[in-house]
């Protein structure tokens, strides 16, 4: 595994935003506290993943699914998360379904124009890639200003 330590951290700007939104207005957060929370979040992901994976392995599955993650939350005593997680998942699934229908429609339109063989096996991966591109787009705006200055 060639991950550098920084790669296993979550972006500081987003972590800071989440912290600020959780605290009352005007509360200061020390730099050290922010870094510590970020590290704690990474550890949380590892702990949750390990826990969820145990459930998957018990069920003899190689793929972690939503149920495993929810079971992990309960195991870790974060029951308070279960309700908001389930609600968020419902909205997410509806969105994904809508996106899938849109991309399938686009594909069908293309097929009508071009009479070539198509591969449907890549459906899941494409769905994920689209989602990641959208996620990445949220991050990029913060970095762009620096690049623009160089051209002067």
């Amino acid at each position: 595994m060639a991950e550098r330590p920084e790669d296993l951290n979550l972006p500081n700007a987003v972590i800071t935003r989440i912290i600020k939104e959780a605290l009352p207005d005007g509360v200061n957060v020390s730099k050290e506290a922010r870094r510590a929370i970020s590290q704690a979040a990474s550890v949380f992901v590892l702990y949750a993943t390990s826990c969820a994976n145990n459930f998957a392995m018990k069920a003899r599955r190689k793929t972690l699914n939503a149920g495993d993650v929810l079971a992990a939350m309960e195991e870790m005593e974060f029951e308070r998360f279960l309700e908001p997680l389930r609600e968020a998942l419902e909205v997410y699934k509806k969105d994904q379904k809508g996106k899938k229908e849109v991309s399938e429609q686009k594909r069908k339109d293309k097929e009508k124009k071009v009479d070539s063989g198509n591969d449907k096996s890549r459906e899941d991966e494409e769905g994920e890639e689209e989602e990641e591109q959208q996620q990445c787009m949220e991050e990029e705006p913060e970095e762009e200003p620096e690049e623009e200055e160089v051209e002067n």
Binding site: I18, A22, F44, T63, L64, A88, Q135
Partner: protein, 119 residues
């Protein structure tokens, strides 16, 4: 509160349903865990969302219970205190150790040596 009826999509409830953390990064961390082969999309979403909820909960609990509250600040010691005192955050005690002055640490080392010497 707003005058619009609760059934309509309000920005606040939408924000709660979407996520800010990048799933790609979360997946990277998950993959570094041994024995994990593949992760379904819904599982990745839930883990990312849960992490956000975790950050909120840790920050707020630490602030509420910590002594930084008087100064209207959340600082490291508040987090370390919470990790030690709150059960669900016990798994963080290794990475959020309480800090002591070097002087105090050296003193307690000396005390241990003195106790051993009594044998």
């Amino acid at each position: 509160m707003s005058q619009t009826n609760p059934d309509k999509d309000s920005p606040a409830s939408d924000a709660k349903k979407t996520i800010s953390l990048p799933t790609s990064r979360v997946r990277l961390i998950m993959k570094s865990s041994p024995d994990v082969s593949s992760i379904n999309q819904d599982a990745l979403f839930l883990t990312t969302k849960a992490t956000e909820l975790f950050v909120q909960h840790l920050a707020l609990t630490s602030f509420t219970n910590g002594s930084g509250r008087e100064a209207n600040t959340l600082d490291y010691s508040d987090l370390a205190k919470t990790a030690e005192e709150t059960d669900i955050f016990h798994f963080l005690t290794d990475i959020l150790p309480k800090k002591i002055l070097a002087r105090d640490y050296l003193n307690s080392l000396e005390q241990l040596r003195d106790e051993d010497a009594d044998f």
